[in-house]
């Protein structure tokens, strides 16, 4: 079972992509989940709202997998509030 922050990212992806949460794991590929470039931008928007963060365009361009998405969010959330990043 992954940590609470990862869980929140995964459920946010599932909700935005309108797929069942069980389908989304940290190892899922964008292709498996049918995520194209516009879907990716939608998901980043949902994550920005969910965590009240701003994902810079440059960072967004580096994201090519769910794992990179989760790691990127962890980093941005940690910069904003270290306690929340640890799932506390």
């Amino acid at each position: 079972m992954s940590d609470p922050l990862t869980q929140r990212v995964l459920s946010c992806i599932a909700a935005t992509q309108r797929i069942s949460p069980e389908k989304v794991t940290i190892d899922s590929s964008f292709q498996e989940l049918g995520i194209d470039s516009m879907d990716g931008i939608n998901i980043l928007f949902a994550l920005e709202n969910e965590f009240d963060i701003t994902i810079p365009d440059e960072q967004a361009k580096q994201i090519h997998s769910i794992r990179e998405m989760v790691e990127g969010i962890q980093k941005l959330v940690a910069e904003k509030s270290p306690a929340q990043a640890q799932g506390q």
């Binding site: 194209d36 470039s37 516009m38 931008i41 980043l44 928007f45 810079p56 365009d57 967004a60």
Partner: protein, 410 residues
């Protein structure tokens, strides 16, 4: 079918307020992209745009009149005035039902709408300006041109995002070619700079934080622009009979739909539109010497467009030159095709091909001759202009250099 001549051009854009200034900047490869001034850019992730610098409605319209017209429609009227003046046609020649007006605009008077929403949602005032509807409607440009010049023929506006004005010019060309009108005023106009609309573009993550570098490996996205451009089209015979100056002929129009994705472009869709324009004009592909590319400088468009041109022209793709003048005037969405039509027509007439400005590094996926940074002398027989819209709606125009001596001998 009648041959169709372009006898008038008018343009207002980031490159100046008339066709002469526009061409001078294009020829010198000088960009009009600069820090955005009409919207508070401190709230934006991107800073630069192609605004009409130092624009003052009072220079063109009486105050009372200007109140009724959104910035986008003002640009349309200003460009139409210049085009009609340039054509040498008098008001008596065009104030009839045999003149048609076909304009393109993607978002119409969204700046006026945005102002209304600020009043309503931000300032919590219970009412918006009563002219909001009349200013916002996308056909306002066509309507104001018809009223100013007393034109009573078919007048309408086409909205197909970034292809809007190529669709408009193409329809006007067919209308004149088929005898549906004796004069067409056609082109497009756009005013994109409002906080709400810029924020929507910001969310799409396709706007460059720097500048527009089409076909360059280090390109970082598009730059929005605004402005208007209009053409006057007439049957060639009629234009010659009245001794008009002929800028060029318009000889082909092609359209297609990708039927694919709402934002991702398709090589096949783009190629179909280019082929269709060649077929429409009976133009042999090897006569084409220059293409004013859609060239948005997004990651997806430029390689797609390169592949589409290679698919259509085969070996000849290596002999033709392309450039994206969006690198200088920005992407004016529904006005883009009209601005680029003017650039293409003047390139034919002047025998000079405008460059792709801001180009720094060759991209193996965009390996055509993109005329990097410096314009080039070249007498080209046929030139094309591509527009590929979000939503997968494509429109391509073909123009031919007008050679008076050839007409006299034939």
């Amino acid at each position: 079918m009648r041959r169709v001549a372009i006898t008038g051009i008018g343009v207002i854009s980031a490159l100046g307020k008339n066709a002469c200034e526009f061409w001078s900047a294009l020829e010198q490869g000088r960009s009009g992209i600069a820090p955005i001034e009409t919207v508070d850019r401190s709230k934006l992730r991107f800073q630069n745009g192609g605004e009409v610098h130092g624009y003052c409605p009072g220079d063109y319209f009486e105050e009372k009149h200007a109140d009724f017209i959104d910035r986008f429609a003002q640009f349309g009227v200003i460009a139409a005035r210049e085009a009609i003046r340039d054509s040498g046609l008098d008001r008596d020649d065009i104030d009839s039902e045999s003149t048609t007006i076909i304009t393109g605009s993607c978002v119409g008077g969204q700046c006026s709408e945005d102002l209304g929403f600020v009043e309503l949602y931000q300032k919590d005032r219970g009412r918006v300006h009563p002219l909001t509807i009349a200013r916002t409607m996308a056909n306002a440009g066509a309507s104001h041109i018809s009223m100013e010049f007393g034109i009573t023929g078919p007048a309408y506006t086409i909205s197909t995002a970034c292809s809007s004005s190529n669709h408009a010019v193409g329809q006007a060309y067919w209308t004149v070619r088929n005898g549906g009108a004796d004069v067409a005023i056609t082109g497009g106009s756009e005013a994109v700079f409002s906080m709400g609309f810029l924020k929507a573009w910001e969310a799409m993550r396709v706007i460059s934080p720097d500048t527009c570098r089409p076909f360059s490996k280090d390109r970082t996205g598009m730059i929005l622009g605004e402005g208007g451009a209009m053409l006057v089209l007439e049957p060639l015979d009629r234009a010659l009979a009245r001794g008009a100056k002929i800028h060029a002929e318009i000889v082909g129009f092609g359209m297609s739909a990708d039927a694919g994705h709402i934002t991702q472009p398709s090589v096949e869709g783009a190629a179909r539109a280019i082929r269709s324009a060649l077929r429409d004009g009976g133009v042999p592909p090897e006569q084409v010497g220059y293409i004013n590319a859609h060239g948005t400088a997004t990651q997806l468009n430029d390689p797609m467009e390169t592949a589409a041109i290679r698919a259509v022209f085969g070996e000849h793709a290596g002999r033709l030159a392309i450039s994206s003048t969006k690198s200088m005037h920005g992407h004016a969405l529904g006005a883009a095709g009209a601005l680029e039509a003017v650039a293409t027509i003047l390139a034919l007439r002047q025998g000079v091909l405008p460059p792709t400005a801001g180009f720094r590094q060759a991209d193996p996926d965009c390996d055509l001759d993109v005329i990097p940074n410096q314009s080039r002398r070249a007498d080209v027989e046929v030139a094309m202009s591509n527009s590929f819209a979000f939503g997968g709606l494509n429109a391509v125009l073909a123009f031919r250099r007008y050679d008076a001596s050839r007409d006299r001998t034939s």
